[in-house]
């Protein structure tokens, strides 16, 4: 039999989150500063792509984070559905817009990179196309979360959608790759190029860590804000019910 310990839970979490948030914030600043310095000033330009290759230091980590966040949403959703843990629901709700933002950033940088490389703002490159579909999955998830007056129902529906989505992502990715090889002329330069110079690895790694801590920071802020919003709702309910 379940105990009602869940009611005490958010407060413990609030304390922990409050302790972690400044650490996440400062490490974000540190890692991003170091990563950007190395990336922009202290790494070689690509012999083929020239200076535009520096776009990669933002593009690649955003794309990673976009995928990582979706998995995060799906895992939190599964935990929320199976153990009915409210914090897991809140984590899924907090993660999805952040993931969508990363996804959008990856698409934007991809497009900016594409202009000098391909001579056009958008090419139906396999990676960009998959990212675009991922963005739609995020938007669907967020839309569903906001489509119900009943919060619990919204969370449950969005959780099921996230699980359906995560099963489908590999299939979509694979079919887009397949479609792309069918239609793409082989001469186009691929975004990541054949090999990465070791001097490019360090800034890339630092940026990736910085993006991750940034995500942790924002997610914690958003979860705390959700909890507070829920408290306000509880107070309102009390008002209504006297």
């Amino acid at each position: 039999m379940k105990r009602i310990d869940r009611f005490a839970n958010p407060n413990k979490f609030m304390k922990l989150a409050k302790a972690i948030t400044p650490w996440a914030a400062w490490s974000t600043v540190g890692f991003l500063a170091a990563g950007l310095y190395l990336g922009l000033f202290d790494s070689p330009a690509d012999y083929q792509q020239g200076e535009t290759v520096r776009m990669m230091y933002v593009h690649v980590p955003s794309a990673w984070m976009a995928m990582f966040c979706y998995v995060g949403v799906a895992v939190s959703s599964a935990v929320g559905l199976i153990w009915k843990h409210p914090l897991a629901d809140l984590a899924a709700k907090a993660t999805s817009p952040v993931g969508a933002a990363f996804c959008f950033l990856a698409l934007l940088t991809g497009s900016l990179w594409g202009k000098p490389m391909w001579g056009t703002w958008w090419v139906w490159d396999a990676r960009l196309t998959s990212m675009l579909i991922l963005l739609f999955l995020y938007l669907g998830h967020m839309a569903l979360l906001n489509a119900f007056d009943d919060q619990t129902r919204a969370m449950r529906a969005a959780s099921i959608l996230a699980l359906v989505g995560v099963i489908n992502i590999p299939i979509i990715k694979w079919s887009v790759d397949w479609w792309n090889t069918l239609h793409q002329p082989a001469s186009v330069v691929k975004m990541d190029g054949p090999a990465i110079h070791p001097d490019m690895l360090w800034p890339l790694l630092l940026m990736a860590i910085g993006f991750t801590t940034f995500y942790i920071w924002v997610a914690l802020l958003r979860i705390r804000q959700e909890i507070i919003a829920n408290k306000i709702r509880a107070i309102r309910l009390r008002q209504v019910n006297g």
Binding site: K2, R3, I4, F7, I227, K231, A234, N241
Partner: protein
């Protein structure tokens, strides 16, 4: 003797705790009447007994077997009448009822059972009428005929006499008495008078939660950083 009981049931709707620590126990032939003010969880309890709503805490047993472990078996032994009458506009009353009778028990002689159920509530003349021509009261009677058209020991009735006239209420009362005579059980919620022979009463106000209790209990908190 068949026994259906719940122990320490807790109901959570959205973020609101509706009732807590609710116990009940009924046996073959019993009728349990749920009373309580609006929002005290009468409908929620009925939906919980039907299995539509999972109890947040506590458990229910049927002859000391847990209901949650055999949900399909439990659904086979109950009939539920909710706020909607589920009469399809383009199907005749008979088609509507035969479908539900068969879905409930595929071996039932649906035609005969439906005919006799319609007769009991005196709506035989509506058998061939499509649902869209029915009045609210006729729809309600058709819905009540549905639960007579396939046998199930447990009837869960949420405000069953809404939209019914006096005469129909009397017929329903007689049917419920017959059902109990044959070893059936009835749980029903009502705002108005229904005559039942020595019913058990469950007042949900006894298990209500002060609205002070909830998820996010206080502790001053501010959002810095």
């Amino acid at each position: 003797m068949t026994n259906f009981s719940g122990h320490n049931l807790t109901c959570l709707r959205g973020e609101r705790l509706v009732f807590k620590g609710l116990d009940f126990s009924i046996e073959a032939g019993d009728a349990l009447v749920l009373i309580g003010p609006n929002g005290s969880g009468k409908s929620s309890l009925l939906r919980m007994l039907a299995g539509l709503l999972k109890p947040y805490g506590g458990d229910m047993t049927w002859d000391s077997e847990s209901v949650g472990e055999e949900p399909e078996q439990h659904r086979g032994r109950l009939h539920y009448v909710g706020h909607h009458d589920c009469v399809k506009a383009v199907l005749t009353v008979e088609e509507n009822l035969t479908f539900w009778a068969r879905m409930h028990d595929k071996n039932v002689d649906a035609e005969a059972k439906v005919a006799s159920a319609l007769d009991t509530l005196s709506i035989s003349h509506l058998a061939d009428v499509p649902g869209r021509f029915l009045s609210a009261g006729q729809k309600r009677r058709a819905n009540l005929a549905r639960i007579m058209a396939a046998d199930a020991p447990l009837w869960l009735l949420d405000e069953p006499i809404t939209a019914l006239d006096k005469e129909s209420i009397t017929k329903l009362e007689r049917t419920m008495a017959d059902h109990r005579q044959n070893g059936g059980m009835i749980v029903l919620s009502t705002h108005s008078e229904i005559t039942l022979e020595n019913p058990k009463i469950l007042d949900l106000a006894d298990f209500a939660i002060g609205f002070g209790e909830g998820f996010y209990d206080d502790d001053e908190e501010d959002l810095v950083f």
